[in-house]
Symmetry: C2
Subunit: 199 residues, 2 copies
């Protein structure tokens, strides 16, 4: 997938004086993480929000039987944050690791304060981001409570169109809250439906 800079993200979403923004962002840290490395461990405070410019992150918890449960994938243009930790200063429940070599733009409160000064509508924009996050999480809960394995899978492929080729099936099943066997069955059934409708 194409690299997607934080600057590009902001200017596509909101009116902003490009010169002021570029100056500000040029002072901000970007960080590269090799595939397999960790950006945060559960139990630690996570006071940082990551914006993925290139690569792919995973945010997940581990239950007391050692099983992983994926809260989200974050390819290019997605955010990873744990509000409970960032905003309420609690140790995070989540690990964050890089599933590919990944470049992230790092946002801390200090930068958000500066962005509010440079971008007149930044507060309203940030408010929209928070509302959008809530919308996604509510939809995820409703899917987990009520959707069949097939419905979950189809919603996933719509939301993350290129992820299927980038992560193991086991992780997709973990995200969907279904067994790998159910995922495999659903994919076969959908492939069969698709080949029948094409024949």
């Amino acid at each position: 997938m194409k690299e997607y800079s934080f600057n590009e993200f902001l200017t596509s979403k909101i009116d902003v004086d490009q010169k002021n923004l570029s100056e500000l962002l040029s002072q901000c840290p970007r960080k590269e993480f090799q595939k397999g490395s960790f950006l945060n461990f559960s139990g630690d405070l996570c006071d940082t929000t990551f914006f993925v410019e290139k690569g792919l992150l995973r945010q997940y918890s581990i239950d007391n039987k050692g099983k992983e449960h994926i809260l989200q994938f974050a390819p290019e243009g997605w955010w990873v944050t744990d509000r409970e930790s960032t905003f309420f200063n609690k140790p995070s429940k989540y690990n964050v690791d890089a599933l590919e070599d990944t470049t992230v733009f790092i946002l801390k409160q200090e930068l958000l304060d500066k962005l509010e000064k440079v971008i007149p509508n930044f507060t309203a924009f940030n408010n929209e981001l928070l509302n959008n996050h809530i919308r996604h999480l509510q939809n995820r809960i409703t899917l987990l409570l009520s959707a069949t394995a097939e419905e979950r899978y189809l919603t996933f492929t719509k939301m993350y169109p290129d992820i299927l080729s980038r992560v193991p099936q086991l992780m997709v099943a973990s995200y969907l809250g279904i067994t790998p066997e159910s995922l495999s069955r659903v994919r076969k059934e959908l492939a069969s439906k698709s080949s029948n409708s094409n024949s």
Copy 2:
């Protein structure tokens, strides 16, 4: 449970000029709903946020087999909103109904704009509310993905201490995403543990 006015809620959370606030809120609509009546139907736009002053609301979806799935309960001091509908103008996926005779304080965008003028820190406060909502939803997802029926139940009783005596067990099971039989088993096991430790 004790009635909890929106005015009381705001003044307990944030510095505010009580005279200005009382004047503003006195012009705002409160509405009473009889037990069993609906505040919103799925498929309709829901441009309103409800703050429960007295009583108990339920927000839930119905799957295509007609089964109900509860997104949240809202007793006194809780909010009910569907950001996807309120903020992004999509038809709501959720029904909202009153499980008891309920009085709600009604918030629309117009009131939020006025509150920003009367309360200097309202924007920051609203930001905190949104972050808190995200925290709750993330925790709920992690519970649905990874927690045992007992863990879900114990988290529920902590978050909603007095709800168990106010709603049928079937609804509690629906909220937890477990079968009524699992809920019954968990409750028996916990009661047995508790009586053993007391004997």
